[in-house]
Subunit: 150 residues, 2 copies
DNA sequence: ATGTTGAGTTCCGTTAAGGAACCCCGATTG
DNA sequence: CAATCGGGGTTCCTTAACGGAACTCAACAT
């Protein structure tokens, strides 16, 4: 398919897509997040081709999102989130929130999130890191940053 | 490539991926967000194949994320975000935030976000919609919801 | 009448996804 | 010590999606 790779673009969205934008990658990440850490567990859960799963896991490890570590003296490995990967889970939570709101339909959301701090079933909300007020699509101006294209 | 479609999964992440998970779709959405509303503008900005751009735009319109409206008596059309699409931009902002933090390197972020409410250059932060405290990967328990698989 | 412009289609060669079968290696079993 | 098992991948083949360039079409403009 000769997919274009986006890393040449001066765009953090494009760059992020080069890390987790390939098909299945976010779902692989989700599985690792919820505790499916082994190849066969993930393969069985997703029904993904073993070939593609191998490629995705390798890529995520190469990108520093997952860590591959042996758990036996036999050649057995587990995948775990790195710090970089853990922070990517924010993205998954926002995705899940949007899907819950717009795609869940009558049945309601398939998964609920209970927040440790307050004990309530809740969801994520985007706030300004500076002032704490809501921060959504219409609430920002975009300005060229130091890493902008020349 | 016969890409698997994820809509059968009882998972809001998978369902969201069916809407914007295809290659280029998030970048198309970003372009519309920043004011590139016409076919040729988006095509030139991204360097995407016209064929693929047509497919992506149609899909995003079908999914109710974009709205296609004529702007001339000639057959000319503009794409705009719907409410559903505007809320998807949250996802883009989180993506951009992660990319800024982990992939921007020495050069720094290519784009800065100025928050209208406080006027400061800032970024998004995930908070619990219920209590307002930070809400990240490790701060939640996952429970089966009403729409969980049988 | 001819040219231009925006918005797509069409066509073709390449490459990645899907799927099933196969392989490797260290343990365990008989 | 041969046979089996099970996790974690490879190999190979088919099919569909991408990339790119050329082509179409319907209003205008000159």
């Amino acid at each position: 398919m000769q997919r274009t790779n986006f890393s040449g673009m001066a765009c953090s969205i494009a760059r992020t897509l080069d890390v987790i934008g390939e098909p299945w990658s976010p779902l692989v990440l989700r599985d690792v997040w919820v505790g499916l850490n082994r190849f066969d567990q993930i393969q069985a859960d997703l029904g993904i081709s073993r070939k593609v799963l191998t490629e995705r896991l390798n890529h995520l490890v190469d990108q520093g999102v997952l860590d591959r570590q042996p758990y036996d003296r036999r050649p057995r490995y587990e995948y775990h989130l790195t710090q970089k990967g853990t922070e990517l889970v924010d993205l998954l939570m926002v995705m899940a929130g949007w899907g819950d709101r717009w795609l869940a339909g009558e049945a309601g959301p398939p998964v609920l999130y209970r927040h440790h701090a307050c004990g309530e079933i809740s969801g994520v909300d985007l706030r300004c890191a500076h002032c704490g007020e809501p921060m959504h699509a219409g609430d920002v101006d975009l300005l060229p940053g130091p890493g902008a294209a020349a």
